[in-house]
Symmetry: C2
């Protein structure tokens, strides 16, 4: 069978429709019993030997002709190999083509059913991905050696049940990149998990990060020279605008009953605990949080690194995207389709 | 005991020398039986209650006065708590003060012995660290919550024993971000581990990354339209100068018998195998390699992330620093002093 390509669509007859669409979910049926195939579908049929040629081109020539994206072909083939039927997300072919390249049906289902398992977007390792485009799509990243990594992206809500009665007007000194509380009330650290003891072997003096100090000074818990403005000014000195973004996320998490502590050892802004009653009974921190501006674009390699690390330490990777309104949350995790 | 601070040095008498230097390794003995203490040492003695005041300041006032760096104090205290004696790396106090803040002696030894265990440099999580300053120093990173992470840095040599006889003039097509070799000689993949099969279930067509294709085309193994220049030009199109840096490191590793494959899933440029005879018997890849220009400066948080990840997958993190001459290697790993 040698088919013809017109306007990026391969048009085929009723026989092809029966062989390719009815029994294996390739293409889109059109009027008069005919079938339209997207280039990536035609490439796969050429690869399998189900088609001899398209416009006289065999598989090798078709792939070299740049009619079909090589990375889309690799992902299409991989999903087919995994037993899925899928349809290119072309306007008019599927209901919700935005930000996706393929609509993938549950195993055993196809384009004639009304069920979608994944919306998949194909990106090269070297492309960047806007944070605003993620959240209801699976990223299929093709690396430079043509290996595939599937990353599921979601927009969860974060909340917890941590709460503590805090004292007020506790005296603290602002140092160059932290604050020190001399002989603080025990609940500040022991129940609410603010700060870290200057000496972890004994109760007493507490070191607070600038974020913790700014948050607590703003709420009247700390009494510090110059108030929370002085702490925020110091924060901006040491890390610029990022301090404001991180403080916004820190405050939102605390206000929602989630306790954020430094994520430095994991290369993140925070690790978080949803249910803290006492530091003696802390449990496992559930999330790693990284703070970005809403306009951030990701390098897929950084996503792969974060996701791999988070998985290795049994946590979930969450990106906090900050803007003029409340922060939104984006999780990214590894998926095996 | 209330001592006096002059020109950033605290001067003390013979009694102090006996109590602090002779028995516990604080300070530097000077003429006439006297002792000089660095501010960080004086702060520690104040903290312990061994000194009452310096210039009338107690510990709290001394720390708030900015006479001593709070992060140097935290690291000094931590190393003392771990049972080490150490000396501030001040010019004239120790033999090799460059790029270090403290010289740490083996446990049980002190400044009167002639043995150094670690040279330690103290950095805040928020400072950046030049790659050129690393290699014979332990970084003590103080994060925003005052937790410490020690990172050992070394300058190892990388080499391996992988070798294979390669065919010549194998026909390949250059696609937009990879090359395809149709029906290649088996040894290309099976012995030398170049490329990845288009279909991992069957022998045959091989996908090569642009790095692999450029390296092989330059050595006459591949025959490709436009030769290795065409591949390199394509590489620069998709990733700019970085392609040249990465190709230089790729070629150096291959030339030394080390097989580099993509490190994408680990967020790195390469994972490497030192001894490849056959892909059926690969073994574990030993290193993760990231390529940077020699002038690169690290964000300590990125170091923490890389080191944590590498440790989790039982590999060693190696930075390849490229310049006009051959690349140099820098490893960073977690240390518990």
């Amino acid at each position: 069978m040698d088919l013809t390509l017109t306007d990026s669509v391969v048009r085929a007859d009723a026989e092809a429709r029966e062989r390719f669409y009815d029994s294996r979910g390739y293409g889109r049926p059109v009027d008069a019993g005919a079938l339209e195939l997207a280039p990536v579908e035609a490439a796969h049929l050429l690869y399998r030997g189900d088609l001899d040629a398209v416009d006289g081109m065999n598989f090798r020539a078709f792939l070299a002709s740049a009619t079909v994206s090589e990375i889309e072909f690799l992902v299409y083939k991989n999903l087919r190999d995994r037993g899925f039927y899928l349809t290119p997300a072309i306007d008019g072919w599927v209901d919700d083509p935005d930000r996706a390249d393929f609509v993938v049906y549950p195993r055993g289902k196809g384009p004639w059913d009304d069920e979608v398992q994944y919306r998949v977007r194909v990106v090269s390792e070297r492309a960047t991905v806007a944070a605003s485009d993620l959240g209801d799509v699976v990223l299929a990243v093709v690396d430079e050696e043509s290996e595939l990594t599937y990353l599921e992206t979601e927009r969860p809500d974060l909340s917890g049940s941590s709460e503590a009665d805090l004292p007020s007007s506790v005296d603290a000194d602002l140092l160059s990149d932290r604050a020190l509380v001399w002989d603080p009330p025990a609940e500040l650290y022991e129940q609410a998990f603010y700060g870290q003891r200057l000496d972890d072997q004994r109760e007493g003096d507490l070191q607070l990060s600038l974020l913790e100090a700014a948050y607590l000074a703003r709420r009247g818990v700390l009494s510090i020279d110059g108030g929370d403005e002085a702490v925020v000014a110091r924060g901006r000195e040491v890390e610029g605008d990022r301090f404001d973004r991180r403080l916004r996320v820190y405050a939102t998490l605390r206000d929602r009953g989630v306790v954020p502590k430094t994520g430095f050892k994991f290369g993140a802004d925070f690790r978080t605990y949803a249910h803290v009653e006492s530091v003696d009974d802390l449990g496992h921190s559930e999330h790693l949080v990284r703070v970005f501006a809403r306009e951030h674009t990701f390098d897929p390699r950084d996503l792969a690194l974060d996701v791999r690390l988070a998985h290795g330490v049994r946590k979930r990777m969450v990106y906090a995207l900050t803007g003029p309104e409340e922060s939104t949350w984006l999780t990214v995790s590894r998926l095996t389709p």
